[in-house]
Chain length 378, copies 4
C-alpha cells in the first residue's frame, strides 16, 4: 500500500464513515462454470478475494478486499461477464444486489430460509443430561425442529455460573442422538468456538459478541451455519456488517436473529424490534429468526410475540422452554412451560399458512434411529 493510501484508509476510522468502492460482477445467464472461474482467478491475481454466489438464473461474483476503486477494464471484456455493478452499501455479500434469491440453509432435514418456519427450542442452559433430554423430548413432541441449550454462557458477572462447557456439549450431542433434533448452541470465545463447531449443528453468536470481530472471523472460517444475534444497540447497517464479517471469510450460512434492543421502556427486559425482520429481508437474502424469550424477558409475552414474529415474516424462532415450573416460578423467568410451548406451536401451525409459510412436524422417523451420523465424538 502506498503511504498515501494508508493515510486515507487510516483516516477512514477516525470519525469518518467507511466509504467503500466495491464492485459486483454479474455473469450472463449463459456463462459457463469456466467463465465464472476465469473471473474469480483474475480477481485473485489482482490480490482481492472472489465470492461467487450462484443464483437461480445467473451467478454474481462479489469482489472484496479492495480498499480503493477497481479498474473495470480488468473484467468487462472477460467472456460471460454481463454487468459490473458498483456497490453502494458498505456491505455486499449480505445484499440482494449480489444474490437476489433467498439463502436457504440446510441442517439435516431442516431448511432455514425456505417456506418452513423453523422453531428452535430448549432450556436456557444445559443443566444435566437427564434434564436436557427430558426437555428435548418434550419440545420435539410439540414440534420443535432444533434443540437449543447453552453449554457456554456469556456471563455479565465473572462470579456467575459459566455453563457446563464441554460436558454440556456432550449432553447436547446425546440429546440429539436420542431425539434426532439438530443442536444450536452458543460459542463465546475462540476456544468454545472450536468445540461448538465440532459438537453442534449451528453455532450461535450472542448479542454481546456481535462486534467481537475476532470471533466473527473465526465463525467465518467454521463449516457450520451461524446464528448471529443483533447487538443490543446495533443499527441495521452494523448488524449487516457483522454478518458480512462472517461471510467475507467464506462462511455464507448466516442466520440473522433479532433479540431485542435496549430502550427506556421498562415493561419488557428489551424492546423486541420486529420491524427489522422485513427490513432485513428487503435488503438481504439471509434468513432472519426472532428470539422472543430474551427479547421480552417475560414468559407471558413469549407466545404473543412469537405469533407476531411469524406474522411479520420471520423465518424461525428460538424459544426457551423449561419444565420445572415449581422451581422457576419464583422470579418470573422467561422460559415457557412445555404445555404452553405445545399450544404455541399449534397456534403457529395455523398462523403460518396465512403468510404463505408452513410448520411441519420436525421428524417423523422414530427417535434415535438415524441420528448417529451427527455424533461428532466418534
Amino acid at each position: 500500500m502506498s503511504n498515501e493510501s494508508v493515510n486515507s484508509a487510516a483516516r477512514a476510522h477516525c470519525g469518518f464513515r467507511a466509504r467503500l468502492s466495491a464492485m459486483l460482477i454479474v455473469m450472463s445467464a449463459h456463462a459457463t462454470p469456466e467463465d465464472v472461474e476465469r473471473v474469480c482467478k483474475r480477481i485473485e491475481e489482482l490480490g482481492f478475494k472472489a465470492h461467487a454466489m450462484p443464483g437461480a438464473n445467473r451467478t454474481a461474483i462479489g469482489l472484496t478486499g479492495n480498499p480503493g476503486p477497481v479498474e473495470p477494464g480488468f473484467f468487462e471484456d472477460l467472456p460471460g461477464v454481463a454487468e459490473l455493478i458498483p456497490v453502494t452499501h458498505p456491505y455486499k455479500l449480505v445484499s440482494r444486489e449480489l444474490k437476489p434469491d433467498n439463502t436457504e440453509i440446510r441442517i439435516r432435514d431442516v431448511v432455514i430460509g425456505g417456506p418452513e418456519v423453523v422453531v428452535m427450542a430448549g432450556p436456557c442452559a444445559v443443566e444435566s443430561e437427564e434434564q436436557t433430554i427430558r426437555i428435548a423430548e418434550k419440545v420435539r413432541a410439540a414440534g420443535a425442529h432444533l434443540l437449543r441449550g447453552g453449554a457456554f454462557k456469556p456471563r455479565t458477572s465473572p462470579y456467575s455460573f459459566q455453563g457446563l462447557g464441554l460436558q454440556g456439549l456432550k449432553i447436547l450431542a446425546k440429546a440429539r442422538e436420542e431425539t434426532g433434533l439438530p443442536v444450536v448452541t452458543e460459542a463465546v470465545d475462540g476456544e468454545s468456538m472450536e468445540l461448538v463447531e465440532k459438537y453442534a449443528d449451528i453455532i450461535q453468536l450472542g448479542a454481546r459478541n456481535m462486534q467481537n470481530y475476532a470471533l466473527l472471523k473465526q465463525a467465518g472460517k467454521a463449516r457450520k451455519p451461524v446464528v448471529l444475534k443483533r447487538g443490543m444497540s446495533a443499527t441495521l447497517e452494523e448488524f449487516f456488517l457483522a454478518a458480512e464479517y462472517i461471510m467475507s471469510e467464506g462462511n455464507y450460512q448466516v442466520i440473522m436473529c433479532e433479540r431485542g434492543i435496549r430502550t427506556f421502556a421498562d415493561h419488557t427486559r428489551n424492546t423486541l424490534d420486529l420491524s427489522i425482520v422485513p427490513a432485513v429481508k428487503r435488503i438481504s437474502h439471509l434468513p432472519i429468526i426472532v428470539d422472543p424469550s430474551h427479547g421480552t424477558g417475560k414468559r407471558h409475552k413469549v407466545a404473543p410475540m412469537s405469533r407476531a414474529s411469524v406474522a411479520v415474516g420471520a423465518d424461525g424462532l428460538i424459544i426457551e422452554v423449561h419444565d420445572q415450573p415449581e422451581k422457576a416460578l419464583s422470579d418470573g423467568p422467561q422460559a415457557l412451560l412445555p404445555e404452553a410451548f405445545e399450544s404455541l406451536m399449534e397456534e403457529l401451525r395455523q398462523l403460518a399458512p396465512v403468510v404463505r409459510r408452513t410448520i411441519t412436524t420436525s421428524c417423523k422417523s422414530p427417535v434415535g434411529t438415524s441420528s448417529g451420523a451427527h455424533s461428532p465424538a466418534r
Copy 2:
C-alpha cells in the same frame, strides 16, 4: 387541606414518585343499584369522586381524589359492600383490579375491544372533499370499519400546513354520510377538541399530547370515545396514567394506541413496540390498537407490522391509505396504496381466526342510507 398534607403532597412532585393510598370498593354480586348509589353518595359526601364500573358479575366502585388514606370504616358496613381493596398501582380506573372484564366501546355498529379486530383507515390529512370521499369509499370497499383523516394537524414547524380545520371536519362528516363509516380524527387543543367532539365519532389524541394534561382532562369531559396515542418516550405506567386522566373525569371510553417509540434504530422512523399490546391487556381492561403507519414511517413495513399487530393481540389498527401514488412516491411516504390495503385486509381476515378474533366487512347496508343520523351539523 391541612398545612402538613399540602407540604407532603407538594413534595410528591419533586423527585419522589407519587405514592397513592387509593381504594376500590367491590360490591357483592347481590348488591342492588340502590346499594351502589348509597356507596357513591357516601364517597361524595366525604369530598371524593366515585367511579362505579359495572362488571359481568358485580360492580366495583373506584374512589379518587383522596390524597391520603381513607378510613375503611366509612364504607365497610354499608349494605352490599363485599370487599375493600387498596390499590397498589398509581392508576386504578384503567386497571383490571377495578374492572376484570374487557371494556368494549361501541361506535354505531362497530365494537372496539370485542372479538372483532377493528380497522381505521384513510388519508393522513383531509385535503379536499373529493379526495377524502374517494379514499373513504376505497377503504370501505376493502373492509375498513372507520375512516381516519386529519383535519387539525399537530405541526412540528409553525410554518407548516395546519390542516383544513373546521372545513376538514365537515368534509369528514360528509364522507361518513356517503360511506357510512364512522370517523376518527385528531384534536390538538381546546378549541379543536370541541369541534372534533361535535363532528367526529372518535376523538384522537396524538403522541405529542399524551402528557398535555389540560387536553386529557377536556377529553375526559367529552361524550365521545378517545384514541390515546402513546408518547414517543412514554413508559407503560405513564401511558396508563394518561388514560387515567381521561377516565378520572368520567369518560371511560379510552382506546390505547401504540405508535412507536424513539430509539437509536434508524431503519424505521420510530420503533414499534408491539410487546406493549400484551402488557396493556394484561393489566388493563381497555382496548389497544396499533398505528403501523407512524410506527414505521415506511410503506413497505406497514403490511407486515399490521399482521404482527393482529397476531400479538391488538384490538385494531389505524392505517394511512393514499390513492395517488404518482404524487406520493417521490419521498417514501408511509401511506399504503388502496390495492395494498385491500390485500392486507384479506390477509388480516385470514389471520384473525388464528388468534380467535374476527374481521367482518364494515357495513352491508347500501351506502348513504342510514348515515344521516350522524350529521352533527343539523
Copy 3:
C-alpha cells in the same frame, strides 16, 4: 390557497419532512429605519409576517408564513436591502443566520445570555408563604439571581397534588417583594399561562409541553420571557422548532433549557445531554440554561453536573433547593440543601472566569426596597 398547494402542503405532514422555502432579507449597514419599515410593509402586503431583528451592525428581516417560494424581485430593489438569503433549515427566527449576535434577555437587573452565568434556585413546589420566603432568602444570600418554584405542577397522575395555583403565584410575588429576586414559574395550560404572565417574571414551559403547540403559541403572545424545556425525546431540530413557534408569534425572549433525555441508563433519572449546549449556541443566538436537578434526579449529582454545565458554556442554571433535610431525606430527592447550594455557588464563581463568564452576587440593594414595582397585584 390553490387546491394544488393545499394538497402538497397537506402531504407535507404524512411522512414527509417539512421542506420550507424561507427567506431572510439582510439590510445594509447604512439602511435607515424607514428602509426597514418599507421592507416589512412590503412583506405584509404580500400576506406574510415580517420579523425585524436588529443586530450590532445591521438589521435582518425574517419572512414567515410563506408556504412556497417567494419571488426575490419583490424585495431586491428596495432601498437598503443588501442581501436575500434563502433559509436552509426548517427554523429561521432561532437561527444565527438571521441574528448573528447572542440574544440577551433582561429581567430587571439580570441579563440572561450575556457574560453573566445566571442561577435560578428555589423549591420544587411552593408549599407555603413562610417556607417559600425562607428558602428564597437563603438562595438569595448564596447568590442566586432568580427564584424558582412551582405554583402549577404538571402531574403524571391525575390524583397528585397540582400545586397551590394562584395562591402559589401570590406567594412567589410576595417572596420577590421580600428578596428582590425575580420569579420564574411554570405555566401548564392556557389558564395558568395568563396568571403566570401576570405574576411572574419568566414563564417556564415544561418538557411535557415542548410540543404543546397551542401553549407555545400562547407563550408567543405573552410579554414575558419564556424558559423552554427540552422534551424528553426531542431532537435538536424539534427543540429549535418549539422555540420557533414561540418566536413566530412575536415573543423573541426565549431561553432554551436542557433537562435530560430519556435513555436506557438507570444511574440517573434522565440522561443530561450537555453536548446540546454548544450545539444550541453554534446554531442559535438564543441563550441556553441547564436543569441539573431534573436532569439527574439525584441530589449528589447536582453539584458536579452544575459545574459541568458552566464549563460547557451554559448561560445559566435552574436548581432545586430545599431546606428541610429531615423531611426530605427519606427518598433521595433531588433538591440541594441550602448549604450545599452555597458551596456550589462559590465553586461556580471560581469556575466562571475560566470560560470567560462571571457570576456576580444577585442584588446588593437592601432587601425589600425596590421590588414594589414588580407587584402585579396592583
Copy 4:
C-alpha cells in the same frame, strides 16, 4: 458442585438477575501482614479466590468464586479480622465497600486517579512513523501526559483498514522514546493483546469489547493498566461488572472511560453521559476518564465537553489530535487541531484548581533521555 447448586446457578442466567452472596473481610487496623496472609490462605483452602486490597488504614480482603453463601464461622475467629461484610452488589472488587480510598495508577511519572487530571492525546490511528512522532511532539509540547494512537483498529466493516498492527506498535514505542510520553493503545483480540501488553504502557479496551469476556479475562492477566471503555448501551452495573472481570483475574489497575452512549439524539454521534463520572466515583475507587472525541464525533464539541468533563470530576481525558487540517477538513472529523488542543490544555489548567485538581506539564526532562527503559523491543 452438587447437582442442585449447578441447577440453581444455571438458572441464574436465564432471565434471573445474578444474586451473589459475596463477602468482604475487613482486617483491623492492627492486623499484621501475617494475619492477612492467614485469612487469604484460609479462603483458598476453601476453594475460593482471595483479593487483598490494602487501604490507608486497614486491609480489606475480597472473597470471590463462591457461588453460594460462605459460612462466616470460617473467618471470624482468625486473628486480625475486624468485620465480615456481606456484599450487596453483584460487583465487589470495584467497590468502595472493599477499598474506600481512590485507586491511583502509576505509569512512569504519571499518576491516574490522584490530584492530577491526566490528558492522553494523539492521532486516532497510527499512520506513519513521521506523522505519529510529529503529532506526539505537538501534544507533548501542549502538555499532554500520554500519547494515544491506534495500531489495531476495531472495524465495523471487514473491508476497512485494520491498522498498521505490530508496525504501528513499534512506531508508538519509537514515539515514546522520542518524546518520553507513555503510550496507550487498543487491543482488539487475544493476539493483539499480547503485543499491546508488550509494547504499550496502557492497554485500551474498546466499547464494542466491553462484554467480550474472554478479552476481559486476558486483560485481567496482563501486567499493564487497562483503560476500559463503556459499551454503547451499557448500564453502570454492567460497566462495573466488566471492570470486575478484569480485576477478578488479578489486574487491579483498571481505568474506566465514558465515551458516549447510543440514544435517539442526532446532534452528536453518541450522547456523552457525564453524570456517570460522579456515579462511578461514588461507588467505586477506580479512576474514570472521558473520551470527548468519540463521545461527540464533532471537533467543535470536543473542547467544551473536555472542560465539562474536568468540571464534573473526571480523572483524565483521552482526546484525538490531528495536524493536517487540509486533508481532514472535508468531512467534519472529530480530531482537534494541535493549536486548538493547546488552547484547550490552557483552559483545563485554569479549570482544574477550581475542582481541587491540577494539570502539570507532562515531562520536564529533555526529550529522549530517560525513555530508553520503555523500549520493549530490547
